[in-house]
């Protein structure tokens, strides 16, 4: 119980509650359920991307191409919707996930088969994917009137008071929770990131596991690509530009170690929520939205400093987790 209270998730959750409390003193309606639902809805895409990024970072890689993947997949489904309005939304959804997974697989195979450093590979695909959007679209925008009504309505569709977008985020959280805590693959991600050499000797194929992490991250980015384009009802070359760093920031704030092997689903979700709350709170408490970037930067530095201290105390985390399970 004490361990649970001391865990990073508990501290981060407390920090978020304090933050909401502080905001409420200046704008009392912020903590109202309807507003919190809006904040969650607004943060849904960041939460999903942070979860996808989590498995990559945990296996000691990094995926900087998520935002470009999102934008490219978004453009592909938007173009498809424009050219063939008859294709139903569930099919487009499947196409988005598959296309995103394929882009993720490109990263994964390069990392797996050629043993290239993930940061270089995804830096390369970041610019390549972004460039491909231009080739597909010729630099033109796909605007709201060129999309079908069903295409745009899907993420906003209301089910039990929450939008489908929020429900998808919740489903993703659940899926990742099961994947990370209840499956051999989830354990393999941690093993590969915690100690790749030891992982080899326990019979885990390090490269293959990392490749799967990239495919998962890519699939999530593809799904978010459709959701992003449908939600904002516009697709163009620069959508979600620079968003990859916000995703990494959410993970870092959530206590996921960039050195691999440490992280949790709860951490990623809370890290994303923290950024989402800051973003949504600034306008209502009369602070210029231009403060957002500096605040998230400061939050990242504080979170990293905090992580580094606690990691030093705990030592190798894979052993730590084994203790907790025992």
């Amino acid at each position: 119980m004490i361990q649970l209270l001391k865990s990073r998730e508990a501290i981060l959750a407390a920090a978020i509650l304090v933050l909401i409390g502080l905001i409420s003193t200046r704008y009392s309606d912020f903590a109202a359920p309807s507003n919190l639902i809006n904040v969650f809805n607004d943060t849904s895409i960041l939460i999903m991307l942070a979860l996808g990024q989590m498995v990559v970072i945990v296996s000691r890689c990094i995926d900087l191409s998520v935002a470009s993947n999102l934008a490219l997949t978004g453009m592909v489904v938007a173009t498809l919707n424009m050219m063939a309005p008859g294709v139903p939304v569930p099919v487009l959804l499947l196409i988005a996930v598959a296309f995103g997974a394929m882009l993720g697989a490109i990263n994964g195979v390069l990392v797996w088969k050629l043993d290239l450093p993930p940061i270089v590979v995804t830096l390369g695909t970041l610019t390549i994917f972004r460039g491909l959007i231009f080739l597909i679209s010729n630099g033109e925008w796909i605007n709201a009137h060129e999309m079908t009504a069903g295409f745009k309505a899907f993420p906003r569709y209301d089910v039990f008071g929450l939008s489908l977008l929020s429900w998808l985020a919740i489903a993703t959280i659940a899926a990742f929770f099961v994947l990370v805590t209840r499956t051999p693959l989830g354990r393999a991600f941690f093993a590969v990131g915690g100690n790749p050499h030891a992982a080899v000797y326990t019979g885990i194929d390090v490269g293959y596991t990392r490749c799967l992490a990239f495919i998962i991250s890519g699939a999530v980015a593809g799904l978010c690509g459709y959701l992003w384009v449908a939600r904002y009802a516009v697709a163009y070359v620069d959508i979600a530009g620079g968003f990859e760093l916000e995703v990494v920031a959410a993970c870092v704030i959530g206590g996921i170690s960039i050195a691999g092997g440490i992280g949790s689903v709860g951490g990623a979700v809370l890290g994303a929520l923290f950024l989402g709350i800051v973003k949504n709170a600034l306008p209502v408490v009369d602070i210029s939205p231009f403060w957002q970037l500096a605040i998230s930067g400061a939050a990242i530095i504080i979170a990293v400093a905090f992580n580094a201290r606690s990691e030093r105390k705990k030592g190798r985390i894979i052993l730590k987790q084994a203790e907790r399970l025992a």
């Binding site: 050629l114 270089v120 830096l123 390369g124 610019t127 390549i128 990494v248 500096a294 930067g297 400061a298």
Partner: protein, 341 residues
């Protein structure tokens, strides 16, 4: 650079001691720099053939602006990456430095004060990164992602959607002035810095220490290298270079917006990696980075002359980045497969 297999790794090949050393000439011929130089010459020829305007000296002089500012930072970044660290905040340092200079210019300060402020702010930012990494022991990639948001965030707080203009007249020299004939101030500075960094990395104790740290920080520490101090100096130098680049860029554009130099950090890292510096640390050369700067600058300029949009060039740069590190590995995979299983 492709031999980064750790000892004890099951994939590590048996050490093969050759009967005789390859001749220095052969070694040069096979080196990364030679390959890159061949690519550079190839691009130069293709450019010259595809556009009649390419070979004009004034056009070529203009083309150097595509890479000089980024290359200045790339030199310091190369040392930093060789030592096993990275600084993703460089573009944001440019933004913050430029904002500081713009603020002072509006308050009526002259050119010497602006330049001094530019250098100071750059160094302070670099020192802050250095403190986070060496003082607090944070991993540099996350620490500098944090300062990347922080530094540019401060620019946004100061400027919002506004811009600083109205720099003093003499200030335009750094980004627009010519030293002699077609040689711009920026290009001369680039050349001087290239030589300075080449000497620093390849001819001094400090340079040896940088390689030693990149290959094995612990062994370097036991050999008496002050690892933390060297790394701190490297972050400081990178900040200083970003400050110098900010002076040149601000002078060239004549205005400051918070979005200035957005995304440059990735282009600079690309330039360094393209130059043959291993992203894992421990190897790389300054001549390689210089050639890579020319390659990237000429690709951008040549494509521009034949009206290829900038974003398509970025596809080319991305493919170039991946293929230059993938090809040597494919080649060595292919060769080992042929010999022993």
């Amino acid at each position: 650079m492709s031999d980064q297999v750790l000892a004890g790794d099951p994939r590590a090949p048996d050490r093969n001691i050759p009967d005789r050393l390859t001749s220095p000439f052969q070694r040069h011929l096979r080196s990364w720099e030679t390959l890159l130089l061949a690519v550079a010459v190839g691009i130069f020829i293709i450019n010259a053939l595809s556009s009649p305007y390419f070979l004009d000296p004034w056009n070529l002089s203009d083309a150097t602006f595509n890479f000089t500012e980024k290359a200045m930072i790339a030199f310091a970044m190369a040392l930093l990456i060789i030592s096993g660290e990275i600084d993703l905040s460089v573009a944001s340092i440019i933004a913050l430095t430029s904002t500081a200079m713009g603020y002072l210019a509006q308050s009526g300060f002259g050119v010497p004060e602006l330049v001094a402020a530019g250098l100071m702010v750059g160094m302070l930012c670099g020192a802050f990164n250095g403190f986070l990494v060496t003082g607090l022991g944070l991993p540099s990639i996350v620490a500098t992602i944090g300062t990347m948001s922080l530094f540019r965030g401060i620019s946004y707080i100061v400027l919002g959607d506004q811009a600083f203009r109205g720099y003093p007249a003499g200030f335009s020299f750094f980004g627009q002035g010519y030293v002699w004939w077609v040689f711009t101030f920026e290009f001369v500075l680039f050349a001087v810095l290239a030589i300075a960094y080449g000497i620093l990395l390849h001819k001094t104790d400090f340079g040896r220490a940088v390689y030693a740290i990149g290959n094995n920080p612990l062994a370097a520490r036991f050999s008496g290298v002050r690892v933390g101090r060297v790394k701190f100096i490297l972050f400081l130098l990178t900040g200083l270079m970003a400050g110098i680049a900010a002076i040149c860029l601000t002078s060239r554009l004549g205005s400051t917006r918070p979005s200035i130099a957005f995304g440059w950090e990735l282009e600079i890292v690309t330039m360094v990696v393209l130059g043959g510096v291993s992203i894992l640390g421990g190897s790389g050369t300054i001549p390689g980075v210089v050639i890579a700067a020319f390659v990237m600058g000429m690709v951008t300029f040549g494509f521009g002359l034949i009206n290829v949009p900038g974003i398509v060039m970025s596809i080319f740069i991305g493919i170039l980045l991946i293929s230059v590190i993938a090809l040597p590995r494919l080649w060595s995979n292919f060769r080992t497969r042929g010999k022993v299983v």
